[in-house]
């Protein structure tokens, strides 16, 4: 995990995103324990309250849950849930940014579409 103080994003959002990313890529597995607030805060020199605030976002989204006295665990089905969430954000996070940049560069609709097709051909090998 790597937290930056120089981005727009508040630290607790960065914490939530990085834990989520680690769950999605399988570093923290479903029904397994994630690091404690103490472990994360001492690793990154971040206030434990900030770390907890980040974790609580994921609790509210049903991605992790608290086992009393044991710590935070990844919920069963969390990976699928993150996948759905990211799919629904795909348009907002990637397509909109792409079109805005293309507009600045005065690119036509045909140019954009052809570049997307080129990307799919080159990057998707299967």
């Amino acid at each position: 995990m790597n937290i930056s103080s120089n981005t727009e994003k508040p630290i607790f959002i960065q914490i939530a995103e990085q834990i989520e990313d680690n769950i999605f890529t399988g570093v923290f597995k479903e029904e397994e324990k994630i690091p404690s607030t103490n472990e994360i805060s001492t690793l990154l020199n971040i206030n434990p309250h900030t770390v907890l605030k980040g974790m609580n976002i994921l609790v509210e989204e049903n991605i992790i849950y608290k086992r009393r006295g044991l710590g935070m665990f990844v919920k069963e089905g969390a990976v699928e849930q993150i996948r759905q969430k990211r799919k629904s954000m795909f348009y907002e996070n990637y397509i909109q940014t792409l079109i805005k940049e293309a507009d600045k560069l005065n690119m036509s609709k045909e140019q954009i579409v052809s570049l997307i097709e080129k990307g799919i051909d080159e990057l998707r090998k299967e």
């Binding site: 103080s5 727009e8 508040p10 630290i11 001492t42 020199n45 206030n47």
Partner: protein, 285 residues
């Protein structure tokens, strides 16, 4: 109420007004940052809070009791400061006496932390290097379980590994014992994510007290051409400017005014250190 309350405190040294009618509250159970430039009055304030010197006027209370000549404060607050009082004594002997004088001193913990830092407890204080001198004081502050603890320049002379170790031990201690921690430091970037609340003093006055989260949300930079930035900044609370070539950067406090933005202006966040520098930039005290 569980807190440190500073009310209308003033202190003068000969011709210098070190503290000028300063008032604020320090909430219990949080890590607070006390920031100020050299000569801002931080150490004077800390010394008054820990009853080492007296204020000319005003009151300081901890958990609603005065700190002045109050024996109960002995077990309430500990302040790690810059001065050394016993240069000719060995570290281990000072640990032993601290153990005699304080009920809340954890002797084994002191030995354990010394070991982690590689502090030779058989050395006399005057023979310790600058770094180990700080470490010696940190060990005592971390091993005394008072509800309030003040660290004055805790990492002075410490190498990067020892600084990391200190922050780690501090967080562990904070999580375990729920102490109220006040850190006075010039190394702002290092504590920026560690502290929850910040108090900035300048020329003996309180400049600002805020939660870090609010402060980070309120401060931002606007950059672009000189004309664009200057136009945006009309009626805004600008705390400073930088200029490089034709680009102007303004540091602004308040909310981002979307209706004044255009495509050429760039908004980004401001970090605590930059904010501090711009707020206190007046060519030195």
């Amino acid at each position: 109420m569980n807190s440190i309350s500073v009310k209308n405190v003033s202190k003068r040294f000969k011709n210098t007004l070190a503290l000028d009618n300063i008032s604020f509250n320090i909430e219990h159970g949080k890590i607070h940052g006390l920031l100020g430039r050299n000569g801002a009055g931080k150490s004077t304030l800390i010394n008054i809070i820990s009853n080492r010197i007296f204020a000319d006027s005003g009151d300081i209370t901890i958990d609603d009791e005065t700190v002045v000549e109050n024996n109960k404060m002995h077990d309430k607050i500990y302040c790690m400061s810059e001065s050394n009082y016993y240069p000719n004594y060995k570290v281990i002997n000072i640990f032993k006496w601290t153990n005699e004088f304080y009920d809340c001193f954890d002797f084994d913990k002191a030995l354990n932390i010394s070991k982690q830092f590689g502090l030779n407890v058989n050395k006399k204080l005057k023979n310790l290097s600058t770094g180990y001198n700080s470490i010696f004081k940190l060990v005592i502050a971390l091993s005394l379980n008072t509800p309030y603890v003040i660290f004055d320049e805790p990492v002075l002379g410490l190498d990067a590994n020892h600084r990391e170790l200190f922050y780690k031990l501090l967080i562990e201690d904070y999580e375990k014992n729920g102490r109220t921690v006040i850190i006075a430091t010039h190394l702002i970037e290092e504590v920026a994510n560690l502290i929850e609340d910040v108090i900035i003093i300048d020329k003996g006055k309180l400049l600002l007290q805020s939660s870090i989260e609010d402060l980070m949300m309120e401060g931002y930079t606007v950059s672009g051409t000189k004309q664009d930035v200057e136009k945006y900044c009309i009626d805004e609370n600008v705390i400073g400017y930088d200029e490089i070539a034709g680009m102007k950067i303004a540091y602004v406090m308040g909310y981002i005014k979307d209706d004044k933005l255009n495509d050429r202006l760039h908004i980004s966040s401001i970090n605590l250190q930059k904010l501090f520098v711009k707020l206190t930039d007046n060519g030195g005290v």
